[in-house]
């Protein structure tokens, strides 16, 4: 199998980077953290597997991205534990916190503002993205790899480190949950 050239690696990264960023945003709900995760994943793929055949890139990249996202989640969990512990000890709230900003963050987990009068398509997109972000992590990963990255069941199973049967189950549940949630919100696909 031919090994990847620099141009082929570049082409793969260019093709996948935006989707990878959105995947990271759905999982981490923070654009900066998502950018860091994608950058980290790209560096690791290039430095460790840059000479592998192109066909292996999608599976390898998804596996790396998944691990990077989980690492970021673990770090954030530890940091949040310390912050909440410190806040409980000091008993002080942030004096600069704006309640309106907090309300906004609660209604828009992606941190994106939607101007009034935006097209219906944009609203639909936002609803879909929100519902995807709400899916359990494993279901979301399986769904995005299968239908967005167009990886087959075997590749998805290899990237997720689980059986092909589990991939099918996760995908099926994710699709049913999304379809039901979108229908309840009046979104037609």
């Amino acid at each position: 199998m031919p090994l990847a050239s620099r141009a082929e690696l570049s082409s793969f990264l260019e093709d996948v980077e935006k989707r990878a960023f959105k995947q990271a945003v759905y999982a981490l709900r923070n654009e900066e953290a998502a950018l860091d995760a994608v950058q980290d994943a790209m560096l690791k793929l290039s430095a460790s597997y840059g000479d592998r055949p192109c066909d292996e890139f999608p599976m390898l990249f998804q596996r790396i991205l998944r691990n990077v996202i989980y690492d970021a989640m673990r770090r954030r969990k530890v940091r949040n534990t310390w912050v909440s512990l410190f806040s409980a000890l000091t008993g002080a709230d942030d004096p600069d916190a704006d309640p309106l900003e907090m309300l906004g963050a609660g209604t828009d987990p992606d941190g994106r503002d939607t101007p009034h009068g935006r097209l219906e398509q944009a609203r639909t997109l936002q609803v879909i993205e929100r519902e995807i972000a709400r899916l359990p992590a494993r279901q979301r990963e399986a769904f995005l790899m299968r239908y967005w990255e167009e990886m087959d069941i075997a590749e998805t199973a290899a990237a997720m480190g689980c059986s092909e049967g589990s991939v099918k189950t996760h995908c099926s549940r994710a699709t049913q949950t999304l379809a039901a949630a979108l229908k309840a919100r009046g979104v037609e696909l």
Binding site: M1, P2, L3, S5, R6, L9, S10, L13, E14, E17, K18, R19, F21, K22, E31, L35, V38, Q39, M42, L43, L45, S46, A47, S48, Y49, G50, D51, Q121, T124, L125, I128, E129, I132, F143, L144, R146, Y147, W148, E150, C171, S172, T175, Q176, L178, A179, L189
Partner: protein, 126 residues
């Protein structure tokens, strides 16, 4: 609608969303990609050779077994070409010595004759 159709339609919407990313984010991603490419794992000479043979094999639709045979043939060809080059170099040196001897009008047997050496010594004394 079945599962696959729903999945594909949602994916289409998501692709539209990914195309409309903030230009600042797009620029960050481009820079990250450039940094990643700078660190691409270099290919060793064996990998490069394998790539070349692989490309050759792909070009001529060779089977893996045939590809291995082509690679072995290439290695043998390099060996024999090196051997031929060394042989040619030696032959060229011998030709140069021969030419020098001919230009001096000196028979080659003169250097092998013990009396010739004695004659040279006597000549230098006188």
């Amino acid at each position: 609608m079945n599962e696959v159709v729903v999945g594909r339609r949602i994916a289409m919407r998501l692709s539209a969303s990914a195309r409309e990313l903030d230009p600042v984010v797009v620029e960050h991603l481009r820079a990250a990609r450039a940094r990643a490419l700078e660190r691409q794992r270099p290919q060793g000479w064996l990998a490069v050779l394998a790539t070349g043979v692989g490309a050759l094999g792909a070009g001529f639709a060779l089977t893996p077994a045939t590809r291995s045979a082509v690679m072995a043939g290439l290695i043998l060809a390099v060996f024999f070409a090196g051997n031929q080059w060394v042989s040619d170099s030696r032959q060229s040196e011998i030709l140069q010595v021969d030419a020098a001897l001919l230009m001096d009008d000196l028979p080659i047997d003169a250097y092998l004759d013990p009396d010739f050496k004695t004659w040279l010594l006597q000549g230098s004394r006188s």
